[in-house]
């Protein structure tokens, strides 16, 4: 009887010496956030292209805008979060400040081309071209089909190809101005 009691005690001691089995408890939390599709102009899309004298010596338009100063291109830095942003360009013609009409061999309106180029994040560029006319066409939009390159000066606009409604028309003396509208949208 005593022998049985001793064996039982030894077994109990061994059982008590074993560390308790590890147990753990858990909780789960979620965190969600959003990034909106958007484009942000890191450098303001503003500036002036100074063409100076628009006419050649013979009075017709200088198609190359050869008298310009500061260049015919302006660059901007735009960030877009969208996967396939679009660029849009439009403008009015270079209109005489007081008389933009065309008549009798003279004109107060110079048409030109605006070329908007955006760098793709993958490779290459996307281009939107807009030509003014007496009846202004709709703005030109081009989708990049790829993200906009995350780099400085990734959007550029260039003016070129000055012309008049009638190629032989002479430009009226005075001041001419035009505004180019550029839009970079996230889709």
């Amino acid at each position: 009887m005593k022998k049985i009691a001793l064996i039982a005690l030894a077994a109990s001691a061994a059982a008590l010496a074993t560390p308790a089995a590890a147990q753990s408890a858990s909780g789960t939390v979620g965190v969600t956030g959003t990034v909106a599709a958007k484009c942000t102009a890191i450098t303001p899309i503003t500036g002036t292209i100074t063409l100076n004298e628009l006419a050649l010596a013979n009075g017709t338009v200088d198609a190359a805008f050869g008298a310009q100063t500061g260049g015919l291109t302006r660059s901007f830095t735009v960030n877009c979060t969208g996967a396939t942003p679009s660029i849009t360009v439009s403008s009015d013609a270079l209109n005489h400040s007081t008389d933009p009409t065309t008549a009798n061999g003279y004109t107060g309106r110079v048409h030109y081309t605006s070329t908007l180029v955006a760098d793709k994040a993958t490779t290459g560029t996307a281009t939107a071209v807009y030509n003014t006319a007496d009846v202004l066409p709709a703005a030109t939009t081009t989708n990049l089909g790829a993200p906009l390159k995350n780099a400085a000066s990734n959007v550029r606009v260039t003016v070129s190809t000055g012309h008049t409604t009638n190629a032989t028309d002479l430009l009226k003396a005075g001041s001419y101005s035009s505004t180019i509208s550029i839009t970079v949208s996230p889709t």
Binding site: V29, V31, G33, T34, V35, T122, A151
Partner: protein, 211 residues
Amino acid sequence: MTRVTGIFGKRLAGGALVALALGAAMPAAAQTAYYPVPGGPQTPISITLAIPVRASIGGSCNFATAGAPNGTYNIPGFIDVNSWTNDFTMQLVCTGPSRMAIVSTNGGLLSSASATTGYANLAPYDVAVNIVQGSGGPTTGNCPAANLKSSSAAACTLRGTASPTVGLPFGASVNLNGSYVRVSAPAFPGPDILVAGSYTDTLTITVSPAS
């Protein structure tokens, strides 16, 4: 300590003592007890045996009822332009030294949208814990979520599934208020651009008694 008293015959008293002392640590050897020898001294021989009993009471550690950190935090605004922070409160029932560990499923806020050069679809954030203890100040720890991903090799005491040897150690904390898991981030710093889309991550927080 448990004391066992036995009555033994003269002849084997000494031998029986040795055998019993070993019995506490190994299977008991066969024992025989004798009454006093007829005609001999009639006073029973009494021997006191000391049997050491080793005991280990493992602490327990759980979240209190409804005290586990749970739920989803929807970050207001946009993570690329807004800073944000949120506390998931928790209440523990940990009776002794314990550990807490966390695993981040994505190692940050991840979007399913693809990201090409110059773009990112994983937004970093920080995870911090504050555990109010029964004595002393709170135990704190923090790591970037990136370091809490199970595959991360970066040093982070909080990473993993809590076990007696894994996780941030802390002392007893039983039904105390003020413990939390905090998630936060500044506006995404760049230079990459976060792609548009929804971002998400899941944190699994575990607690365990420590060894």
